[in-house]
Symmetry: C2
Subunit: 251 residues, 2 copies
């Protein structure tokens, strides 16, 4: 039944949540707002340069060209953008709720996308949960193995040590190593690369940075490595997030 | 310990998962691939029209203008795009892992975004879980109330009836009603509006359709309605998805 005694703690949680979002909004506003002012001046300079260079263009003509150029610069220039491989990658971004750089534009494609996600998202969650549980089992097995060898040390110490090592190796495998790979193959800075790793694995997926861009050339192993990184990285990060939820729930 | 007897069922699940994604990829490829062919011909027509109209532009000039136009058409034309209200909405899209139509472009903003999401996503999940549980409690209370009044009917019948009514009213509240509102205020078709509702509440968030666009004028109540729709809709849909996961886990 409805437990009235718990209402204050829920109101508290709601207030913390609202305060968190509002403070975040404030910080983004300060950081990004200033930057936009600089960008606007730069853009106006560029615009005036273009108007001087191409004398047949007026303000209206410029917007006309920009409108068409918008779609030309997008998905359509690379012939056969919806190849089978990129369509399969797209299907994977739907079920994992990561956003990539594509979206269906036909009505049939949009309706299929809804139905596909309706069954695909729960299926994906079940699979990731299983993989996450096996990761925990492997960690425990290693912990037992170490305890067998160093039987005299107290259990708590080994556990903490194994947790620390598995956390650090996870962070290296899913954040530090991909960061270096992306920095080299995508031409991003280290901070942009780590930002991309987090935005992708947390399934926020802004789409402002896109790895494995269909316009570029990559080594053969790149897309396979990318797919495995996303799959195991998601399982690992959802484990971490579940741990944080456990801690928050107990508050 | 590692249970070997369960390995075949896990392999099976993995195979189903892979087949699901591949078949989805096949369908998207067929549906969208054909459409892109038509779009490319249309774009080439438009491009040739522009080259004839503005005689001072060559291929290179067109791309030059399109490049600058790309950012002019984007976030920068509306002065003060990173207002406080839109920054707060952005902060909410980060913690809910929905993608909106903004992303931070400064290094400081990107780093803050990572840290903000790291604590915000678990917090958001805890809050949504609580709200979802309260929705269940309300459903159960209504069920008990109905049973008290119609005490002679069998319990199972009332339960199924209440489930059905609560499911239908949820679907109406979070999909049918917003669909009508979006169709009227965003100028979308009904199928585009329902596609937007699903892509948003499932947190996939392609960003191909964006409601509450900063370039347009909306009624006062629009953004408040929008925020409540997302918040309670997410809680409701995560309840539904959790139910589906329970069913899948039992298989």
């Amino acid at each position: 039944m409805f437990n009235l005694a718990r209402v204050p703690s829920i109101l508290m949680l709601g207030l913390i949540y609202m305060a968190y979002v509002l403070i975040g909004g404030l910080v983004f506003w300060k950081i990004e707002g200033d930057l936009v002012q600089k960008d606007i001046s730069l853009l106006l300079l560029n615009k005036n340069r273009l108007l001087r260079k191409y004398t047949c263009l007026n303000q209206e003509g410029l917007e006309d060209v920009a409108q068409v150029g918008l779609s030309m610069k997008g998905n359509y220039t690379t012939d056969g953008f919806w190849k089978f491989t990129s369509s399969a990658v797209f299907a994977a971004t739907v079920v994992t709720t990561i956003y990539g750089n594509m979206s269906p534009s036909s009505t049939a494609g949009q309706i299929f996308c809804v139905v596909f996600a309706l069954f695909g998202i729960p299926l994906n969650m079940v699979v990731l949960n299983r993989v996450g549980k096996y990761m925990l089992v492997i960690e425990r097995n290693i912990s037992c193995l170490l305890q067998g060898k160093t039987g005299k040390r107290p259990q708590r110490c080994t556990c903490f040590f194994v947790h620390l090592v598995s956390y650090l190796s996870g962070a290296t495998l899913f954040f530090v190593a991909p960061m270096i790979v992306f920095q080299q193959h995508e031409g991003w800075t280290y901070s942009q690369a780590i930002y991309y790793c987090f935005i992708t694995l947390s399934t926020i997926g802004f789409g402002d940075f896109v790895a494995n861009n269909p316009d570029k050339e990559y080594p053969e192993w790149y897309s396979i490595l990318m797919a495995s990184w996303i799959f195991f990285g998601l399982a690992w990060l959802s484990l971490l997030i579940n741990h944080s939820i456990d801690i928050l729930e107990r508050l």
